[in-house]
Symmetry: C2
Subunit: 304 residues, 2 copies
């Protein structure tokens, strides 16, 4: 740990500010032609957000570095990996909000991309954010073999057996009864896959060995699931102003959720068990995993 230890909230807000700046620099400037497309891409990505995925990349990088301090090349590589997962996440939100999907008009307290621009521009902005993520991975100044591993991981987590596959199951399940097992499968693909990829990307980029990677994988599985359980709880316990997106939407849409299947108390019990699994997985990694541990607590405790 070459860095002076800092409080987690301070570390997190510094990382959030940092990734905003990185994304701002790596996205094509707004005046670049085609202008409306690039404005929409920037609107979609730079509109705030919790930046949990970027924070996971950075924290997993810290936990995995062998030498104890980050060389400039590793800092750049972690920036690119963190930006890549945020771009994939941002594109998925743009497409999910479209009228043919969730038809949502509010996101992070602002009009969604297709409302602010138009449907065609929103779809194309999402389509263009995805290859930009892979381009950024390809520009990481690390061993090409590690870049190939990172590309594979991101591609799988974003594809039909990962994020998009989970989204498809979600669409198909509206109005249908899912078992707890089916629900878990859907969420582990839809939300969990990219969160887990974020953790593992940080490890790959920082040169994590196999023992560290195993710990990261167990941690990632737990927090990936926890994230969705919290989302489902917040959908029924919070309000639109706090969430910055439409509350009660899943319940109104008759979508199966953890709360609808195991109740509010059952969901909260599951959440605590997942938090403990995450902490246990980090024990072998030692004190350099402190920020990963704090992110697990942050995910479990978040209110929006």
């Amino acid at each position: 740990m070459g860095r002076k230890p800092v409080d987690f909230p301070e570390w997190l807000s510094e990382r959030v500010e940092h990734i905003e700046s990185v994304l701002d620099q790596l996205l094509p400037p707004a005046p670049t032609a085609p202008r409306s497309l690039h404005e929409a891409m920037r609107y979609a990505v730079l509109g705030g957000g919790k930046r949990v995925r970027a924070a996971l990349v950075y924290a997993a990088g810290e936990a995995s570095l062998q030498s104890g301090s980050e060389a400039l090349a590793q800092r750049i590589a972690l920036d690119h990996a963190a930006a890549a997962v945020e771009l994939i996440h941002a594109y998925s939100l743009v497409h999910d909000d479209l009228p043919c999907m969730d038809d949502d008009s509010l996101r992070r307290g602002r009009p969604t991309v297709h409302v602010q621009f138009n449907e065609a521009t929103a779809m194309l902005a999402g389509d263009a954010l995805q290859p930009l993520a892979f381009e950024l991975l390809g520009l990481m100044p690390i061993a090409p073999a590690l870049t190939v591993q990172a590309t594979q991981l991101l591609a799988r987590s974003a594809g039909s057996l990962g994020m998009v596959g989970g989204q498809a199951i979600d669409c198909d399940s509206v109005g249908q009864a899912l078992t707890g097992e089916q629900l878990q499968q859907m969420h582990s693909m839809k939300t969990g896959a990219l969160l887990e990829a974020s953790v593992l990307l940080g490890g790959i980029v920082a040169g994590a060995g196999s023992a560290t990677r195993a710990g990261l994988e167990s941690y990632a599985a737990a927090i990936g699931l926890a994230f969705q359980v919290v989302d489902d709880i917040l959908d029924v316990t919070s309000d639109t102003a706090t969430l910055g997106k439409t509350a009660g939407k899943d319940a109104a849409g008759n979508k199966p959720t953890y709360v609808s299947i195991m109740g509010l108390d059952g969901s909260r019990d599951l959440l605590q068990a997942l938090r403990e699994q995450a902490h246990a997985a980090l024990l072998p990694l030692g004190p350099s995993a402190a920020h990963l541990a704090s992110i697990a607590d942050y995910i479990v405790g978040r209110d929006r």
Copy 2:
């Protein structure tokens, strides 16, 4: 060249049959969950098509091989690269056909994906085909540094400064007058970028040196443009049954085309000039570039 030379039509139909089989094997099987998503992905990709992009990858591979014969690893790598460009092309057609874009119901003589399935499934199928393309590149059994180059190239050609950017300009230009220069810029991004990437991917995968790459780049620029000029000519000279897609659509939609700007004769003159540029660029590559030369003639002479 380790292969016995064969007639171009025979070579092309063998390659088309081969890439269909490769795509069939590399796409997730239809029964894989989520089933509707994978059925839509297979419907979008395996529905025929000219496979010009795959043929360019294979022909550029032939033209670039140093040793004169393809090792098994190179054959597999060329298959993955050819499949990747066909997946990107197929996803772009699925999204272009959606109601918020061109709103087309016919493609390759069959219902478009959103008509056959539904809009959400069509959008998600396109979203999932894109990372599958990058995953396939990452699985090429070649030097990781070459894989990274290939990934970079495909990502750039598919992104906001390539294919998707061209599509955005096309959307924004409906009903507007474009200059010949603006039209060329739009098409070089929308259609040319991926065709050019196909040629260069074949070269990269087969280990082309810088002189060969320069020849491939000049060839690729010429055929990329020629492809769109032919499309514009066919839009006004052919009929829907021959094209397998709606004829006269661009003219009816008041979209600027080469024909609307420089007339039918002017467009045909440009086409012949581009064909000559393509042949000239291949001269330094010698007889191994014969199939690339034939593809240039094929693109200029096609009637659908």
